[in-house]
Assembly symmetry: C2
Homo-oligomer: 255 residues x 2
Amino acid sequence: MTRIVSFIIQKGGCGKTTTTVNTASYLSRQGYRVLAVDLDPQGNLTQHFGYDSESLDLTLLDLFQDNTRFDDVVLRRSESLHILPNNLASAAEEIPLFHTISREYLLRDVLFPVKNNYDYILIDCPPNLGLFSINALAASTDFIMVISPEFFPMKAIKPLYETYKMVRQKLNHSLQFRGVLMAMCDFRTRHSQEILKILQKNFPHKLFRAYIRTNVTLKEASAYGVPIFEYDEHSAGAFDYQNFVEEFLRDDDRN
Amino acid sequence: MTRIVSFIIQKGGCGKTTTTVNTASYLSRQGYRVLAVDLDPQGNLTQHFGYDSESLDLTLLDLFQDNTRFDDVVLRRSESLHILPNNLASAAEEIPLFHTISREYLLRDVLFPVKNNYDYILIDCPPNLGLFSINALAASTDFIMVISPEFFPMKAIKPLYETYKMVRQKLNHSLQFRGVLMAMCDFRTRHSQEILKILQKNFPHKLFRAYIRTNVTLKEASAYGVPIFEYDEHSAGAFDYQNFVEEFLRDDDRN
Ligand SMILES: Nc1ncnc2c1ncn2[C@@H]1O[C@H](COP(=O)(O)OP(=O)(O)OP(=O)(O)O)[C@@H](O)[C@H]1O
Ligand SMILES: Nc1ncnc2c1ncn2[C@@H]1O[C@H](COP(=O)(O)OP(=O)(O)OP(=O)(O)O)[C@@H](O)[C@H]1O
Ligand SMILES: [Mg+2]
Ligand SMILES: [Mg+2]
């Protein structure tokens, strides 16, 4: 059964794109067939995989508007890693899409005919809880909150959890909350240790044991347009993402 | 003449809120009358000043919907520092507001009757270029791009610049681009030095000389709900923001 997983938090700059890209890359290197979906009009996931998002003629938006076929839009980076790209053309269309029939299911309907071709479909969400993020949750089997251990990201958890409950009740009864991944961590500071304690208290069973340390090679990899495993597979960033995905896979076996 | 300045970049997590809060605080401690406007429904600026955004009955949204008076919404933190708060109620209203008459001028019209009571009005923008950010640019005399020296924020500069040109042509002929402030900087890394070189080449006259170093006291201050000058005025964060605002004021005299 295909797992469709959203990486989401409405707070900006928590590591959603970095996590989606590197998780997709690791899974595909393990032989899983993976589709990475860029749901942010800024196109950061598309850029992180080395594509010039603004020069693409067709994107996910064209699939939402029913102008084209999946095969015309998808970028086949390798046999086992495909990408549904995005660019700024979508930003201008979010409002008009609000008036489309079944607007919350645009993504589900794009993915439904192709999902059996993939083991994992991973969705990178934009920094808001607008129509695109609702589409992500409505289309997903699971979602993972990606937060950096700081004050503002922590405040974002409760509203996101409320949104999850609403989506689960009204749009997608089988949506599962897989857990909270801490990214961009520097646990040498007292501040992040304090935030960690609060998270452990509030989400005792939902916090991934694996976490991603702050590591400049992850930034460098994004600028080079490649996942961390292709940029520097011996870096701390590569180790941490491997550690996370292995835990994610173990959980999968259990769920 | 009142200066109305937007701190903006659509990329998430670049330091917009931290910069708006600490700039407002420093200016008010220098005796300027300041209004800080929270244009992000997540309410981070409101929270950074110590208010519980979700428990506020009235916010900026009520002013956009013409339900109430400015005096009922504004929070007077001190004689010289007032705040127009925000919370998640606005997030749900962004779409309906699209159909309001003169939707791009909602903020301008809120500020016009009161702007002479302030020397500076500083606007914290959300991580997108939607209706609220357009309102910010349409209402402003100036704007400052706040970016961390990384790849994705750099990619956001060109689309923001295009948006500025559009707003200047169609909505606000006197809007000025004051410059680019680099926040959250760690120039020990080769990566940020390379980004700096690119920025210096592309924006030779627009890069503030002052920049803000990465400093955990800035995160701590946000969690305590106070500006850096009240949390730890001898910290590197306080020094850097003082440095920036002094340069900002010197430019003001010249413009
Ligand atoms: N563990 C890490 N160590 C160092 N830098 C990181 C790490 N994870 C992400 N980054 C960098 O931090 C910035 C924010 O990460 P990213 O863009 O992935 O977050 P995001 O949540 O997708 O942001 P947005 O909300 O804007 O979509 C990027 O420049 C990225 O390269
Ligand atoms: N110079 C700095 N050093 C260390 N941490 C910082 C610095 N500036 C901001 N931060 C922290 O980094 C995070 C991002 O900053 P902030 O929230 O101000 O960015 P933003 O651009 O307003 O984000 P968003 O796009 O979500 O509105 C916050 O947790 C903040 O406390
Ligand atoms: Mg992202
Ligand atoms: Mg902010």
